[in-house]
């Protein structure tokens, strides 16, 4: 038999892949043997094979193939992740090419396009893994939006909600103006940026036309001054003691805002006076809660100024940052501009500068649920290789914050909350169950109100 001079991979690979799959070697069913199960970290359904996939899946295949040869019942489960943000972006792009705007579609219309995209283009990554020789149990291929997965997600949501671990709340979140959705803390990447620090003076309300006095604040985001509802100074700062309880005017829109003494402000930091914008900064929000300040949201979902901003309405935040400076200068409020280096958060997915915003979202309270998970790793119930990751894990788990699980997208698992016109809601497994729950609620109210009268 004539062997070729050099080894030629292509035909050999196609031949054996077909043979192994035809023989069902990669399929697994429970039997007497010890199982060796690996679940693939599901790649995005939008994914195309890159180095990370190659490394990760080669390793898994080595472990699985070896186990198969050591008498174990090897089961390697494949699947893809519906990847809400990434997929929605791809579908919107596809629609744009066809001249269709997402805003002109209903949710159901959009979803049918999304499923169409998924059937046509999604999951190419799985073909590519097959080409790499991955011995996956292809009969078990899953998709995170398969009906049974979907049902599990809804079930878990209902369960955690009933246990009190899921709640709905208005909190400061990371907002992505490009994807137009909330992001979790893990999806924000911080980069060092060369910014400018703008010193802006606000006129004090002295009650007299002739007596002019100013208080100066410094900010890297001058476009947010339209949302200011207070100025804060340190109570022990002699420079401002005479201004406690007095008022100042926000430049350009002349909103009258109080000057409040609070320990939060440091005397020797910046100008010693802090502008307070509760809708746009987490620390300002907390001050706002403390002093019952008005919350004015001057930004739209897409990063343009809202009606509440009064000026520059509809303009992009970064354009406003540029254009507001000459306006402030002309009005006599600009003091000086300095270079300044700071850390700015960027969306991991879209690279848009993240806005801190007040928003009503769904949250998972993590403290209780994280305890057994932390213990398992620290006690080596679950082994980390290499072990250095245990420290990283512990640090994060010990400082864990509540998890924002809602996203303002259509493609994904729909939060099972059902609303009445008055805004009240129930969490349920289905529309029918929601109806039942509302009925019961109504009945309870009826009974309770009857009792009150009696």
């Amino acid at each position: 038999m004539e062997l070729s001079k050099n080894y030629i991979p292509t035909d050999v690979e196609i031949k054996w892949n077909a043979h192994w799959i035809e023989k069902g070697y990669f399929n697994s069913k429970p039997d007497d043997r010890e199982p060796y199960t690996v679940v693939i970290p599901p790649p995005n359904v939008t994914g195309v094979l890159h180095m990370g996939h190659c490394l990760n899946n080669s390793i898994q295949d080595i472990l699985v193939r070896r186990a198969r040869m050591m008498g174990k019942n090897a089961c390697w489960v494949p699947g893809t992740d519906h990847a809400s943000i990434a997929t929605e972006a791809k579908v919107v792009a596809m629609l744009r090419e066809r001249g269709i705007a997402k805003s002109s579609l209903t949710r159901d219309e959009f979803l049918s396009y999304a499923w169409e995209w998924k059937e046509k283009y999604g999951g190419i990554i799985l073909q590519q893994l097959r080409k790499l020789g991955c011995s996956l149990d292809w009969d078990r291929t899953s998709f995170t939006m398969d009906p049974d997965y979907y049902q599990s997600v809804i079930k878990v949501f209902n369960d955690l909600f009933a246990k009190g671990h899921i709640y709905r709340g208005k909190r400061m979140i990371n907002w992505d103006v490009r994807a137009k959705t909330a992001l979790s803390d893990e999806e924000v990447i911080y980069k060092e940026v060369q910014s400018k620090l703008y010193y802006i003076r606000y006129r004090i309300d002295t009650g007299s036309e002739s007596h002019h006095e100013f208080i100066t604040i410094a900010t890297v985001r001058p476009e947010t001054i339209m949302g200011d509802t207070a100025i804060c100074v340190n109570p022990n700062d002699d420079r401002f003691k005479h201004l406690h309880g007095k008022f100042a005017f926000v430049p350009l829109i002349n909103r009258r805002i109080p000057i409040i003494p609070d320990e939060y402000v440091e005397i020797d930091f910046g100008t010693g006076a802090l502008k307070v914008t509760p809708a746009h900064d987490i620390n300002d929000y907390q001050l706002g809660q403390k002093y019952q300040l008005e919350i004015i949201d001057t930004m739209n979902d897409d990063g343009t100024m809202s009606e509440a901003a009064q000026i520059f309405i509809g303009e992009d935040r970064f354009d406003v940052r540029k254009n507001i400076i000459p306006a402030l200068e002309a009005a006599g409020n600009l003091v000086k501009i300095e270079d300044y280096t700071n850390q700015v958060g960027y969306s991991e997915r879209t690279d848009a500068v993240v806005e801190s915003r007040l928003s009503l979202q769904w949250w998972v309270s993590m403290k209780a649920i994280s305890e057994p998970a932390l213990k398992a790793v620290m006690d080596d119930e679950i082994n980390f290789h290499p072990t250095k990751f245990k420290n990283l894990y512990r640090h994060w788990m010990e400082n864990i914050k509540d998890w924002c699980i809602s996203r303002q997208l259509w493609w994904g698992h729909r939060i099972p909350a059902y609303y009445l016109e008055d805004g009240s809601f129930v969490v349920a497994h289905s529309l029918d169950e929601a109806f039942e729950k509302f009925k019961i609620q109504k009945l309870l109210w009826k009974i309770l109100s009857k009792m009150k009268i009696a």
Partner: protein, 395 residues
Amino acid sequence: MKYYYPTNTLVTAPEIIFFWVARMIMAGYEYRGEKPFSDVYFTGIVRDKQGRKMSKSLGNSPDLLGLIDQYGADAVRFGIMIASPAGNDLLFDESSLEQGRNFNNKLWNALKLLKMWDARQADLGTDLKNDFAINWFENRLNTVKAEVETLMLQFRLSEALKIIYSLVWDDFCSWYLEWIKPGFEQPMDTAVYKRTVVYFEELMQLLHPFVPFITEEIYHLLNEQKDDLCVKQNQPIQSVNAEITAAGELLKNVISALRDARNKNQLKPKETIKLHIQAENISSYQAIEKILAKQVNAEETKFTTEPIANSIVVAIEKDKFFIETEKVLDATTLRAELLKDLEYQTKFLQSVTIKLSNERFVQNAKPDVVEFERKKQADAVARIKTIEESLANLN
């Protein structure tokens, strides 16, 4: 679920430890009251040649599918695994894929050699039990199988691949196949051939998880097989004989040194020599003498207690080898070579001695580092003695 849960291993990149790993563990405990998996293996970060992380924006991510088309899936898998120590970053370079392709061709060439021997089989009655080459490779195979098992349990996959690579390229191809090779146009003993095929099949099995396609292909080309390599069960690991392993190491070292001496003295491979061995322990050469003679083209080997005049002298550890050749040894060239070597060894000895007389070094360095320097010093002294003896011999 009851059969498969908890699963065994999760393999993931470190970036998503919070996104995924932590939350999977939390979900596992909340809903099954049990861990979701027993082990988590964090892969290293893939970087380019310059050490920068691979990213779309940098444009330094290679076209994986293009590379698979160009090199084949096995070479790509090999290239990635050979370049990634556990948990550390991977510096990706296309040269790793070339190494993979070369390895494929090495396996292929070994296959072609075996096929050639297949056609020239004859029953020569070799006693396999007492054949050194056969026994030695069996030992190496079992040694490596045991090492691989330990490494795999520790998730040190790329080290496992490296030792299998070395077993194939060095031990099997460079040494074993050379030692069993029949003479020019001579037949290959059937028993030896059949055993060699068994060894090659075992090597394919050891390699299969890493490079599945070529190993399955070669497995079927070696023999009419009733099964597929993909699902073939591993053979149990046999015990290892330390003496045979040591004899093999000795044999390799001596062959290399003597071949080197032949080359330095411009002896052509066809030219036969007479080999005299002055050994501390003659019995250590009994098993390997035959192969040694053949590999260095010695028409006879003798044991001696005295140095042999007019010979090329090679010293290895405490043993000396005297190469007697018909070729008129050009004494001038030999002397020049020896003097050059003497000069080098003297300078080397000087630098080691200076290091060892530096009190601060001796006091502060780790004991085994100091010990290593002392050994270097002792070896240099021994070599210089041999060279001086050789020079004396030439006269």
